[in-house]
Assembly symmetry: C2
């Protein structure tokens, strides 16, 4: 009865999804919120705090008079003003951070739909001749709750794209409290790749950037909440181009700013639920047996599920046990259908008063769900 045991280990909230795009105000006029998902999560005193990834795109409809058309025929992409004869229907519109404009800020670009070779098959990206743009631009937004179920979403971003390395967005935040400071690891995306930047905050209101700690290509970074063996530790997930699959590594630091001594931790497992890709999920937390990490795995059908790995308490580079099957799979309608269907993906889990963990997770790259996890039950399933 293994399958039954697995189902008892985790229980979705009846009110799922707990945050939807329509719960979030756009950050500026002319934009609509497409997704509110992949939230960092932390519990502070009696408050549940989410740091949502909010993905926005330009409102469809009319093209403004000052629209800039992206010309990709030139060796370096250039923009030109739209002519009066062009209408919105003929273009894909997307937004980027433009630091070269006289007033630097978020700017919308228009790309002709009839451009030969334009690849729109992935709903998340626009590809043309080796160049990639994103269909939406993400920022990070705080949401707060007393019960962990009903959230008030801030009207404005907590952290929005502001640097060259964040030109295409800030994504997938993980929040770790270390001492009295909150550390944030978030994906920074630009034409130069997908890397991970750090920031810190004394109060979860003001965030100070610490720069790109993990250059491209690296995402799914989470900082451990305490020093281990005299050093801070980060889970990260480099994705090499030429040799090797995406694997999970540990990096070490003495100041939470500079990182090194990187070591391979674990790889995808051929033939299993995490055969194609893996990456860190929630911030690792202490259990009597060591460190428990809830991570995502992707199979050959591109189905994103959640499983766990138990790491040694003193030497987190030692893998002690791992989920033979996922503890959460995309089964509910809101997990199966959305911008990218068949995805459950966590960036944070928080302890409940009854000893369970509430796992917040992005569903179908669109909304935020929550499910309560029996940690002891989960540990019993690891092998």
């Amino acid at each position: 009865m293994a399958a039954l045991t697995d189902h008892l280990v985790i229980e979705r909230l009846a009110t799922n999804p707990v945050v939807r795009p329509q719960d979030v105000q756009p950050s500026r006029p002319g934009m609509e919120v497409l997704c509110a998902f992949n939230a960092g999560a932390i519990r502070v005193d009696d408050e549940f705090v989410l740091l949502l990834r909010v993905a926005e795109r330009p409102l469809s409809g009319s093209m403004p008079d000052d629209a800039m058309i992206l010309d990709l025929h030139a060796p370096e992409p250039k923009t030109r003003p739209a002519t009066g004869a062009e209408s919105a229907a003929g273009f894909v519109a997307f937004s980027v951070l433009d630091l070269t404009a006289s007033t630097p800020g978020i700017a919308t670009r228009y790309l002709p739909r009839d451009l030969p070779g334009l690849d729109l098959t992935d709903p998340r990206s626009i590809r043309y001749a080796g160049q990639t743009y994103l269909t939406s631009i993400s920022h990070l937004r705080l949401a707060r709750s007393r019960d962990g179920v009903t959230f008030r979403v801030d009207p404005q971003p907590a952290l929005a794209p502001a640097t060259a390395e964040e030109e295409f967005g800030c994504e997938d935040p993980r929040l770790t409290r270390i001492g009295d400071t909150f550390y944030l690891a978030y994906t920074a995306v630009s034409r130069y790749g997908i890397g991970t930047a750090l920031a810190r905050s004394p109060d979860l209101r003001r965030f100070e950037r610490l720069g790109v700690a993990f250059y491209p290509e690296n995402r799914d970074v989470a900082l451990f909440p305490e020093q281990i063996g005299g050093r801070y530790v980060a889970l990260h997930r480099p994705q090499p181009r030429h040799i090797g699959p995406p694997t999970m590594w540990l990096g070490y630091s003495t100041d939470l700013h500079l990182w090194g001594d990187h070591r391979f931790l674990m790889a995808p497992r051929p033939g299993m639920w995490d055969s194609k890709r893996i990456g860190g999920g929630a911030v690792p937390f202490r259990v009597p047996e060591g460190w428990l990490e809830l991570y995502h795995g992707v199979d050959e059908a591109d189905r994103y599920c959640l499983g766990a790995v138990l790491l040694d308490g003193d030497q987190p580079g030692k893998v002690l046990a791992r989920s033979p099957r996922p503890f959460l799979e995309p089964e509910a309608p809101f997990e199966r259908e959305g911008l990218l269907g068949n995805v459950v993906f966590t960036c944070g889990a928080v302890p409940l008063d009854d000893g369970r963990m509430r796992v917040y997770y992005g569903a179908a790259d669109s909304v935020t769900g929550a499910a309560d996890l029996d940690v002891k039950g989960l540990l019993a399933t690891l092998t």
Copy 2:
């Protein structure tokens, strides 16, 4: 007469190549030296020191009785003993570091040539079903000279594969003297990818490993020889999988061990000699105008050439000028033909007494050449 000027800027040594595979003793019985190239270079007192990348492969011919055949049909690669009926001709032989053996060390593997889908088109690699092995395994070897022309090559490696992240080899070293210590950045290759590790030495004899500072995929790392603005600086070249070309970045450190605050520096230039790939070459050196970096660029025909970039002296993240054309192109026969033809690639240059720099460079991924560079003349060509 720009072309003529370029040719006067650099002068190849008449005795090229200065180191060839036949000048290097194999590191162990049963191996042959295939390449001696991509050498780090430094001048210490009156001595020219090269740290060569030496690539070795198993001697062809008979298969030993205890040969291990690699079975790639299993989900995880396994080895099995050869049967008496199998002969060397039917197999591709290559060596790896085997840390799981009862006596960990370099071990040879045999792969059936008739394996369906086996890809041997790149002379440097063996590819099968998403897995990659290298046809040769590299270690680092010291060579010394009084005149910078005639080198005595050490009989044994200075640094050979010893960790999981070096399983497929140690490659492309760059040597930087910082204070009284020599720092070494070298490529560490394994099934987990191509990263860069650091080591240090008080005397260029004993090397102490500092671990993987630049996780995969990252190579072409060179440390600047002094602090700039109170921090150490490294050139590095991440190669992302999903978004962006291989670009050169700067990273910063306070202890030469842990790195962060990574920032994009420069990209390939469409339509130019460095359109497809770029990467750091020699260790950057001071010129009156700033920092001069000799780097490699690759064009759409996969031709590797050398050019230069001038960086601001106080803010090395500022690119001041760059070579419109290469200062060294693969033209000599030993540069055009070898394991990988049409390649000139530098890991080090040293100052000569007449003010020129002697650039040591790997040619055709096989041998080591040298050419003397008129730095002032080169600077005049940058735009």
